[in-house]
C-alpha cells in the first residue's frame, strides 16, 4: 500500500481525466498549485504544536478514494428526509459525498441576484461571482487543506449581492457514506455576503451506513460591510467516520458573523474556525457544543485575529464528554498593535461524565495593544453532586436528574440559536447521542 499522500497525488490523474474539458476553468489552476503544495507538505503529527493533542495517523493509515473518482450512491427523497431538520421553512440543498444532487434539493424561489447552489455549476456558469473570493480567503495551513483544494470540485456556493436579505435559512444536508471503496468527501463551500445583506445557513453533516469514510471540508466566508451571516453547523457523522473542517471567515466594517458548531458524531473530529477582523466595529460570535462518547476524539481549534480597532469578539464553547472520549479545545485570540479598544471574551467549560473521559484545553491570548478588555476562562469539572442530590431528593429518578443537569449545562449554547424548532431537535439529539434519559420541553409535553 502506498502512503496516503502519494495515493492522493496518484489519484489526481484519474480525477483530471474525469474532468472532461473542465480542466480549462480557473479552478484547475488552483488545483495545480495545491498539487505542488501537497507534494511539499507532510500531514501534521503530534510534534506539530497545532496538532499536539490530536493524532491523525488512523486517518492516514487507510487510503480513501476521493468521491469525485467514485460513483455516487443513490438516495430517495424519503431516505434523506429523516436527516433533515424540520418544522420551519428553508431552502434545501443536498450534497451526497460532497457532490450536489439536483434531484434531492429543493432550492425554491430566491430574491433576484442571489445565487444559492452548487459551486461546480457556479464556477461553470458565473465564474466572475467567485473568482475574487475562491481560495483567497483561506490559506493552506496544512496538508489537509491542500488535499481539499487539490480535489476542489463541488460544495455550497451562496452568493448574496449587496442589500439582499434572505428571509428563509438555507439548510444544506451533506450526506456522506462509503459503499464499495472507502470514500473521501471533500465539500468546498463558499459563502459571500455583500454589503448590507443577510443570510443564515444550517450546515447539516450526516453519515449513512456502517462503513468508514473521511470528510475533509474547507468553508470560506466573506462578510462585507454591515452584512450579517449566521452559520450553524450541526455535525452528526457516523461513528467510524473522520471529519475535518476548516472555516475561514473574513469580515469587513460593521459586519456580524455568528458561528455555531455543534458536534455529535465522528471517530476523530477536528474543526478549525478562524476569523480575521480586518476592519473596524466588527462583531464575531462563536458558540460551540461538543458531545462525545465511546472512543470519540473531538478537537476544536478557534482563532480570532483582531487586526483593527473597536471590534468585539465573544466565544463560548462547552463540552460534555462521556465514556472513553477525549476533547481538545484551543482558543487563540491575537490582538494586534493597531487593534485598540478591542473587547475579546472567551469561555470554555467542560464536563467529564465518566472517569475515563479526558480534556485538553488551551485558551491562548496574545495581546499587543494596551487599551483592550480581554478575558478568558476555562473550567473542567463533573456533574455537581449536591445539585444532583437536591433534584433526587424531590423524587426525580437519579438518571433523570443527571439529564436535567446536562440539559442545563448545554442550554447556554442552545439558547443562542435563533430558530426555535431547531433548538428542540438539537436538544433531542443530545440525549440520543449520550444514550441518556431525555428531558422534553415542559410546554411540549403538556
Amino acid at each position: 500500500m502506498v502512503n496516503s499522500k502519494e495515493f492522493y497525488i496518484e489519484n489526481f490523474k484519474t480525477f483530471v481525466e474525469k474532468l472532461n474539458g473542465q480542466s480549462k476553468l480557473f479552478l484547475h489552476e488552483i488545483r495545480k498549485d495545491a498539487l505542488k503544495q501537497l507534494a511539499e507538505m507532510d500531514f501534521p503529527t503530534n510534534r506539530n504544536e497545532e496538532w499536539k493533542y490530536t493524532n491523525v495517523s488512523p486517518i492516514l493509515k487507510q487510503n480513501f478514494v476521493p468521491a469525485v473518482n467514485t460513483s455516487a450512491p443513490d438516495f430517495s427523497k424519503e431516505e434523506i428526509n429523516k436527516f433533515l431538520f424540520n418544522d420551519f421553512d428553508y431552502h434545501l440543498l443536498v450534497f451526497v459525498n460532497g457532490i450536489f444532487s439536483e434531484e434531492l434539493s429543493e432550492i425554491g424561489a430566491l430574491p433576484k441576484g442571489v445565487v444559492v447552489g452548487s459551486l461546480n455549476k457556479t464556477a461553470k456558469d458565473n465564474p466572475q461571482l467567485i473568482t475574487a473570493y475562491f481560495n483567497k480567503i483561506s490559506k493552506t495551513d496544512n496538508a489537509f487543506n491542500a488535499l481539499n483544494t487539490l480535489y476542489a470540485f463541488d460544495g455550497l456556493a451562496a452568493i448574496v449581492p449587496d442589500g439582499k436579505v434572505l428571509e428563509k435559512p438555507i439548510q444544506v444536508l451533506y450526506l456522506n457514506t462509503s459503499r464499495d471503496d472507502l470514500v473521501l468527501s471533500q465539500p468546498r463551500n463558499l459563502i459571500v455576503a455583500g454589503k448590507n445583506s443577510q443570510l443564515s445557513i444550517i450546515a447539516n453533516y450526516r453519515g449513512y451506513g456502517e462503513k468508514k469514510y473521511f470528510t475533509n471540508i474547507i468553508t470560506e466566508v466573506f462578510v462585507d460591510e454591515r452584512a450579517i451571516v449566521d452559520l450553524c453547523k450541526i455535525q452528526n457523522e457516523s461513528d467510524k467516520s473522520y471529519h475535518i473542517e476548516k472555516v475561514q471567515a473574513h469580515q469587513k466594517e460593521k459586519s456580524v458573523f455568528n458561528h455555531y458548531n455543534i458536534t455529535f458524531g465522528g471517530a476523530i473530529v477536528r474543526n478549525d474556525i478562524n476569523s480575521r477582523l480586518d476592519d473596524q466595529n466588527i462583531e464575531t460570535h462563536y458558540y460551540g457544543l461538543y458531545l462525545a462518547g465511546g472512543k470519540q476524539h473531538v478537537d476544536n481549534h478557534t482563532f480570532i485575529d483582531h487586526a483593527k480597532p473597536n471590534c468585539m469578539s465573544n466565544e463560548l464553547y462547552k463540552g460534555i464528554l462521556d465514556d472513553n472520549s477525549r476533547g481538545v479545545f484551543n482558543g487563540k485570540i491575537i490582538v494586534h498593535q493597531d487593534a485598540q479598544k478591542t473587547n475579546a471574551y472567551q469561555q470554555n467549560k467542560t464536563i467529564l461524565l465518566s472517569k475515563t473521559a479526558a480534556i485538553d484545553t488551551k485558551p491562548q491570548l496574545e495581546i499587543f495593544a494596551d487599551d483592550v478588555k480581554c478575558s478568558h476562562g476555562a473550567t473542567v469539572g463533573h456533574l455537581d453532586e449536591t445539585s444532583e442530590f437536591y433534584i433526587s431528593s424531590r423524587g426525580v429518578p437519579q438518571e433523570l436528574a443527571k439529564s436535567m443537569l446536562i440539559r442545563a449545562f448545554a442550554n447556554d449554547v442552545i439558547e443562542t440559536i435563533k430558530i426555535e424548532p431547531l433548538k428542540e431537535q438539537i436538544n433531542h439529539m443530545i440525549f440520543e447521542h449520550l444514550h441518556r434519559v431525555e428531558i422534553v420541553n415542559s410546554e411540549e409535553s403538556r
Partner: protein
Amino acid sequence: MNEIKEKETKPTEEISDDMKVLDDLTSSEYKWGFVTEIESETAAKGLNEDVIRMISEKKNEPDWMTEWRLKAFRYWQKMEEPKWANVHYSKIDFQDISYYSAPKQKPKLSSLDEVDPELLKTFEKLGIPLEEQKLLSGVAVDAVFDSVSVATTFKETLKEKGIIFSSISEAVQEHPELIKKYLGSVVPYTDNFYASLNAAVFSDGSFVYIPKGVRCPMELSTYFRINSQETGQFERTLIVAEEGAYVSYLEGCTAPIRDNNQLHAAVVELIVLDNAEIKYSTVQNWYPGNKEGLGGIYNFVTKRGACRGKNSKISWTQVETGSAITWKYPSCILQGDNSVGEFYSVAVTNNFQQADTGTKMIHIGKNTKSTIVSKGISAGRSNNSYRGLVKIGKNADGARNYTQCDSMLMGDKCGAHTFPYIEVENNSAKVEHEATTSKIGEDQIFYLNQRGISAEDAVNMIVNGFCKEVFKELPMEFAVEAQKLLAVSLEGSVG
C-alpha cells in the same frame, strides 16, 4: 470663543501629561547596576569533556560526580536548543563561553563611604539594612561586628537543629550520600537542553537539608551563605525537607546585580516528604539590558519541586523584574496524596525585556491541590508571556486547581500573552482558569490625582494593588523590598 477653546484643549493636555508621566515611568533606565572588577581564575572558552573534567577536578569531586557531569554533557551534545518559547534572541554560541570562573578575593572597600552614592541611594530606597548593604557592595565587615553578625548566629542555630546549609560543592564532600540520593532526582540531566548543560558544568549553588520534624527557625537566604555570595552562572540548588520539616528559602535579592555572564542556566530541585513544606521565594533583578535592548542577562532556569510525601506542600513565589530574557517555569509534581502546590508570580517587563514564565502543576496523588496566581506587567516595548500547564492524571481523584493570570499593559507597544495548557484525565477533578488583560486604569489614576496624589505615585499604588495577592505570600521583609523594587523598576529618573 477663546475661552471655550481653552476649555476644550485642557483635557487633551492632561491626557498628554498623563501619557508623558507613563512614558517617563516606563522608559526608565537601569541605573543601579554596578560592576566590580575582580580577579578571577577563568578557564579558556569552549566546552568539551576536558573542561568538564577540569571543573570537576578543581572542585575536588569524587569520581561518581565527574561521571554524572560527563553523562549529562554527552546527552546535551545530542540535544537541540528549544525554540518553542515566545522569546527572540540571537543564537547563543556555546563554544564562546567560559565555563569556569572562580572568583578570587574581592577588593575590599574599607567603608560604605567609598561605595558609589547612587548605589547607596538605591539600597536606601529598597530599605536594605546597613550590614547587608556592606555585604552586597563588597565592604569589609568589621571584625568585631562580624563575630556577632546575623550570619554567624544563624549558622550556629542551624547546626544545633541539625540543619545542613552549605554550598553544593561542600555538600558533595561532606554529605555524598544525600547528594547521591537526591541530586538529579527531580530534574534529571536528561530533562531539557539547559538543565543538561547545567548538570554538566554547574559551578556551585546551595544545598539545604532539613531533618525529620525540624522547623527551620529562620528564613534561609543566599545572603548568608558567607563563603559563596557570588551568583554563579550555572547555579544548582537542592533542598530536601524530611518528614514534618519546614523551611522558607529566599533566593536572590532586591539589590540589582550586574554580571558579565550573559547566559544563566540555573537548576533548582526541591524534595518534600510526608507533612513537610518548602516555601521558596525569589526576587530576580538582574541586568535587563539598556533602553535599546542591548546587553542584559539571558535567564534560562529549570525549577521543579516534588511533593513526594503525603500532605506535603511546595510554595513558589517569584518577583521577576530583571533579565533581558526570562525563561522559567517553577513547577510542582504533586505525587503524595493531599499534597499542595502553589505558585505566585509577579513578572515585570520594561523596554525590550522578554519574559516567558509560568508554572506546571502535575497532579498525580489523590486530593492534590494547586493554586496559581500570576500577575504580568508589561511596559515599553517588552513582551510578557504566561505559559502554564495543569495536568490532572488518571488517578488524581479529587484534584483541585485554581488558576488566575492577569496582565496589565502600560503603553501601546508592549505585549501580554497567555498560553495555559489544561489536561484533565480524571472526572472528579475541578479545574478553573481565569485570565484577564487590561490597560492600567485611567479612571483610577484620575481618581488618585484628584486626591492630590502624583501620577507616578498613583501608578505605583495601582501596580502594587494589582500585585497584592502575590506580595502577601512573600516573607515580610522581602515583601516590603519587593514593593519598592517594583516602584524602582517602573520609575523614571524622578525620585
